[in-house]
């Protein structure tokens, strides 16, 4: 049954349906509405849960970690500066192989200080060992949140659900919440094999010497790669249960044999999809909505790009001094193809700059000119630049 919901409220309700026992909360724009909604659900008795209002994001992640290790389903959310502050804990959680779900309401990272949406925060922690899933709209945010708990608990890996801050969190649109029955059927009660228990005492987080370290890291890496199966299983079962896709590894829109493609992560996809109808192009264009970023879906991506001559990769973040992040990973993955497409790597919408539908025909112009771009910030306004930067 559809209802009009603000993204944050929908995400909070999705989390509540998963019956977490501990939620750690620390405010940061634009994630704050999520934890506020959870607090209200708890206060109204719709969710039985310990809400711990911590004194920083570092502690938010730590409280969630402690709770999960002690045998309770736990949750927290953050953005930008908060994600960076808790980075050390994120590595710790993943390395200890603790199942957890966290929402990252994507926001630019200072300096310069920005409250607006881009992917710099989640991209900055892409190496921490978490599964990273990016949502293109609020329905996907809801469905991904619920499936994330199952994926996390099945793989014993933490899952970061990335939702564009403001653009999705603060947007109201109609969507469908799963029912309690559906979620209870899909998500069994939390059972963590290595939970701390006086009846079976273990030590978690011991010092690991060079004698054992590389093997531990290899095992973690393999676990995240294998998680692709869990992601696809969850996708299949969720679709069978609700009729909806949660997003899978990636999704395609447009003619299967299109030789030109545009690849993106997150909500900019919606604008591109409608723009493709608004600005029809003589050359058929395939849109690739990447949803799973970690584990990186090498095979699915290669399959989607086989036969493509030109691929535009849109980044919402950058690695200063090197260029696009998504662009470089895609480039590397596609270099394994016998004939890799020409890659045009552009960053758009950094720091929340509005991505208008007119971007679409402008992007295709770059392809027409066959000018592959190693990397460029596409939507710059040159008159705002100092002379040497033009």
């Amino acid at each position: 049954m559809q209802q009009p919901l603000e993204g944050s409220e929908a995400i909070a309700r999705a989390v509540a349906l998963c019956r977490p026992q501990v939620v750690a909360a620390y405010p940061i724009t634009p994630q704050t509405h999520i934890v506020e909604n959870l607090a209200r659900l708890i206060a109204d008795g719709e969710l039985e849960c310990e809400l711990v209002s911590v004194e920083s994001e570092f502690s938010a992640a730590s409280v969630a970690l402690g709770a999960a290790a002690a045998g309770s389903r736990a949750y927290t959310a953050s953005s930008a500066q908060g994600i960076l502050l808790m980075t050390e804990v994120l590595y710790n959680i993943a390395g200890l192989r603790i199942p957890l779900v966290m929402t990252c309401a994507n926001r630019a990272v200072g300096a310069p200080v920005s409250a607006w949406n881009d992917h710099q925060d989640s991209m900055s922690v892409r190496d921490a060992g978490w599964i990273q899933l990016y949502c293109a709209d609020n329905q996907e945010a809801v469905d991904t949140t619920v499936t994330a708990f199952r994926i996390a608990e099945q793989t014993e890996l933490p899952v970061m659900v990335c939702v564009d801050g403001f653009v999705l969190t603060h947007t109201l649109e109609p969507l469908e919440l799963p029912t309690h029955e559906q979620v209870d059927r899909f998500l069994p009660p939390y059972r963590f094999a290595r939970a701390l228990d006086p009846r079976n005492p273990i030590s978690i987080g011991t010092l690991v010497s060079p004698d054992f370290y590389p093997e531990a890291r290899h095992a973690h890496h393999q676990a995240v790669l294998r998680a692709q199966d869990a992601i696809l299983d969850a996708e299949r079962e969720w679709r069978a249960l609700t009729g909806r896709s949660a997003g899978g590894l990636l999704a395609l829109e447009g003619p299967a044999d299109a030789r030109v493609g545009i690849l993106c992560l997150g909500s900019v996809f919606g604008t591109l999809a409608d723009a493709a109808a608004q600005y029809p192009s003589a050359e058929p264009v395939k849109l690739i909505k990447l949803r799973t970023f970690r584990p990186f879906p090498f095979d699915a991506l290669q399959q989607a790009c086989r036969g493509m001559s030109d691929l535009i990769v849109l980044d919402r973040a950058l690695s200063i001094g090197a260029g696009g992040i998504l662009g470089n990973e895609v480039r590397a993955a596609l270099s394994e193809l016998p004939t890799a497409p020409r890659i045009y790597n552009f960053a758009v919408g950094l720091g929340g700059r509005d991505v208008a539908p007119s971007l679409y025909p402008q992007l295709l112009e770059a392809v027409k000119a066959a000018r592959p771009a190693r990397f460029a910030v596409f939507d710059l306004e040159p008159d705002k630049l100092a002379h040497q930067d033009r």
């Binding site: 009009p4 947007t171 649109e173 109609p174 395609l252 109808a277 608004q278 929340g352």
Partner: protein, 217 residues
């Protein structure tokens, strides 16, 4: 419900038709106000009312740190079928101005489509206001009405009601259902009365033709 609206299998989908009529039924509205005037709620009410009327509604604020008194804007899209684009509304068909002093801000009516309507919260008449670049202007004293009926100087309900009466974009009953999702008891009753009072202040349907015009690309 179209599959792609709620997520689904995009494999091998045909490109959406190139017909500009594909966007038939899309109305874009921009609402300007100041922090504390219920700007975002106005947008959410409109989008919720669209849902109650069986149509698609999308609403979001122009984002930023929250602060009383700062100029803010919110965007609404109402359509017959789901809209996926999420950019800000650059070319609104209608503007709702919650604070008339904002009319002094340059560019506030920027992008308004030719023939588009501007509804202003003001005690003054449209002729007295002289809104630049606007062919059609209507004013209502939304704050005064709100103080009288709600006991609060929040003009959003009155403005949304007047807007719907002017455009007949959605039935007022849909707005009342939207209000019922947000308010209960006394507050809901008052809001309902305010809807009636505000709608009565404007000439019904004078903007209906404009509302039915298809959005140009």
């Amino acid at each position: 419900m179209r599959a792609w609206a709620v997520g689904g299998d995009f494999q091998a989908r045909a490109l959406l038709c190139s017909d500009p009529m594909a966007r038939t039924g899309l109305t874009e509205i921009r609402i300007h106000g100041r922090g504390g005037q219920g700007n975002v709620v106005a947008a959410y009410l409109l989008a919720t009312a669209a849902f109650e009327a069986g149509r698609f509604g999308q609403a979001f604020p122009s984002f930023g740190p929250e602060r009383r008194g700062a100029p803010v804007a919110a965007f609404v899209r109402i359509a017959d079928r789901p809209v996926r684009l999420r950019s800000q509304v650059h070319n609104p068909r209608f503007l709702i101005i919650q604070d008339e002093k904002l009319l002094h801000v340059s560019g506030i009516t920027g992008g308004l489509l030719p023939g588009g309507g501007v509804l202003v919260n003001s005690r003054r008449s449209a002729e007295q206001l002289r809104v630049p670049g606007a062919a059609r202007t209507v004013t209502i004293p939304a704050t005064a009405l709100a103080i009288e009926i709600l006991g609060l100087p929040v003009p959003n309900t009155a403005l949304v009601a007047a807007f719907l009466a002017l455009t007949e974009l959605l039935p007022l009953a849909a707005l009342e259902k939207a209000l019922a999702r947000r308010f209960q008891g006394e507050m809901l009753d008052r809001n309902r009365r305010l809807v009636g009072a505000a709608a009565a202040r404007v000439q019904a349907a004078v903007w209906q033709e404009e509302a039915e015009r298809a959005a140009t690309a």
